[in-house]
Symmetry: C2
Subunit: 397 residues, 2 copies
């Protein structure tokens, strides 16, 4: 029983954490509960129930399947579902009509062939990247509705009534979902994308911010090397930027379905976000290389050389961190990044400083092998500066 | 009409390409068509139809929703669907029994509260990463079935019969899917994962293979610089490795549902594949840094220095390419990578060679700024060698 108690405590702790990390999750759960209860209460309402009959169950089904976390995803699913049902219904009635021209014994065969052809073709269509991204769910519902209609074997007259019922119940379910998801604490995919991109850039800035000082502390202080090897002193959040591509793409996809809201107008340039995201990822790859440099075996770097490049390198990393921070905040407030442009200029100056510093180093006294790691860090920083410049250009657009 | 013709030609071309790229897609489409036709023909078979009544439609629905590209995904969905329906059915009957204890007027309220609580709790459960990865679809079906049962307002006796019908039709649909997906040209998620990891490693090898020679050709030959700037000479396939994390994880997830097949035993170490995949990605990040180095502004590297590091660098990159190729083929054949170990040793030798070469370079005559890019390439190559070593260790396990 004691084991059980600790287990319960653990689970309840992780539940709390999940809710605290993003309170919108709790709200979303309540919203789904609310939508389902509303729709099912409609079902109990006699006058309506008599009108729809058993078909009312489809409203419940629609709510469960269609209600997603973001407004964009909910719209995507409900619109796809609605139009696919409409299209498949029309085609299904056509197929039924076609089959009724044959003798009764041959009807099942005609149905079988039609279902085989349409299901095969639609399934293949789902492999097209363009269709997969935008209409995957719609094609699925299309196959579903079409085969259900042809298989059911009803006459055309019955079918029209059934189609009417199903469409109106789907309409009720779908509009309940859309209404609740938009008007009760909406979670906009576009807003999420916006924040994700800004916070990704901030994560990169957080790493670069302390990098210069930390790195040169390691290089100078011999005793410190083993202590900082586990590099806990460096923020590791940037790692999540490395793998954020899929999240960004699906959010951008859903954002396209959303109506204009808040700061975002109707045709907001979501593609631009993907571009900035790609540059940020490029930058994260470079940071990853920097961090492998730090973790690799330390060679004692000559103090003379370190002193020469310390100032420009620290400046490069701190100026790019400042530039990234300014860019992130200008994305957040949607203003033109004037401050960031200044920081980018600073970065470029630092790169020039580094070049002059290197030229003035007295080469004779140096061990080439020993300076390579520090030199690598310096040149990767230069690349990062280039990358920051590209991000800044895209934000300006 | 001419425009229309070219459009048609384009579409048919892209259809052909899609089919040629992976012929299993065409086969999959045919399999879905076959499964649907089979199940719907069952529906026409009088004795069976009379037994199931309208519930036979659920078999069709199950096939459409459950049939996925890989065996693992199909098993995941059909098992989740089956068990979730069973559980939700039992709970739903319990809820119905509970509600029947109240007065008739209060019943809808009890139902409403129960649906609200269960739907909210289950929706929240879907946010847990563990549940999301393994049972997301099951929880969805659970909410669906539970609310449909409570809403339908049937008596317990009717419900038992309905539950029996639904479960047996889902069983028919699900087993048809599983049977067809396993026995007709199966697509195993495990096999796909296996091939994906091996081909990812091969892509890295393809880049490194020519890298040494190409890079030093650029450095030496001044006129060549602008021509090779677009770096079409370097294979760009490695870029897909950068973003392969999600694909790998979902394949590993589905692979866990698959029974032992072919070369894979029942509890095949799928997690090990994810580990190798992560190291391969690490390596791809480093290659990305290399390629930004190549594309950045070229500074004329002194020929003397180039000559010193050319041999060891070329050897490092070609030996790591060979090691990666050997590892990929040993993954494919599932044999212990003896050849690869030899190549890894070669890499380590090359690293040592590079160190001696650097020590012997006459520093006085060099421009430090000019050698930095080449030196960076060398040191990133050293990191790649480390990475290759880690991959080789994981493959050995």
């Amino acid at each position: 029983p004691e084991k059980f108690n600790t287990k319960v405590a653990e689970v309840s702790k992780s539940i709390k954490k999940l809710g605290k990390d993003d309170p919108r999750r709790v709200i979303h759960s309540l919203k789904v509960g609310l939508a389902l209860t509303l729709v099912s209460l409609l079902y109990y309402w006699r006058p309506l129930f008599d009108g729809f009959g058993i078909a009312g169950i489809w409203a419940v089904l629609t709510v469960v399947v269609v209600f997603e976390f973001t407004v964009g995803a909910t719209l995507y699913k409900s619109l796809n579902r609605g139009f696919a049902t409409l299209l498949a219904g029309a085609l299904g009635i056509g197929a039924q009509h076609l089959a009724s021209l044959f003798a009764e014994r041959e009807e099942p065969i005609v149905h079988g062939i039609l279902v085989f052809l349409l299901a095969g073709a639609s399934t293949f269509a789902r492999f097209f990247p363009g269709i997969k991204a935008k209409y995957d769910y719609g094609v699925l519902i299309f196959i579903l509705t079409f085969s259900m209609i042809t298989v059911s074997g009803f006459r055309v007259g019955e079918l029209l009534e059934m189609a009417h019922q199903r469409l109106s119940t789907i309409l009720i379910g779908g509009s309940a979902c859309i209404f609740i998801s938009i008007f009760i604490c909406p979670v906009w995919a576009g807003g999420d994308l916006h924040n994700l991109i800004a916070s990704n850039i901030e994560k990169l800035a957080a790493y670069l911010d302390g990098f210069g000082e930390e790195y040169f502390q390691i290089s100078e202080d011999v005793e410190c090397v083993t202590a900082t090897k586990n590099d806990k002193s460096f923020p590791q959040e940037y790692k999540s930027v490395l793998a954020s591509k899929n999240t960004e793409e699906s959010l951008a996809n859903f954002a396209r379905w959303e109506p204009g809201h808040g700061k975002f107008l109707f045709r907001h340039p979501w593609k631009q976000y993907l571009k900035i995201g790609a540059f940020a990822r490029q930058c994260a790859y470079l940071i990853e290389t920097l961090s492998t440099q730090i973790n690799s075996e330390d060679i004692q770097v000559p103090a003379e050389f370190v002193r020469a490049i310390e100032a420009p390198c620290t400046k490069m990393s701190s100026a790019s961190a400042k530039a990234l921070k300014a860019l992130a905040s200008s994305i957040k407030t949607m203003k033109i990044p004037i401050a960031a442009n200044q920081h980018v200029e600073d970065c470029k100056c630092a790169v020039q400083d580094l070049k002059t510093a290197m030229e003035s180093v007295a080469l004779e006294s140096l061990d080439l092998l020993a300076i390579i790691p520090a030199a690598t860090v310096a040149s990767v920083l230069v690349e990062i500066v280039n990358c920051v410049e590209k991000i800044s250009e895209s934000v300006n657009e």
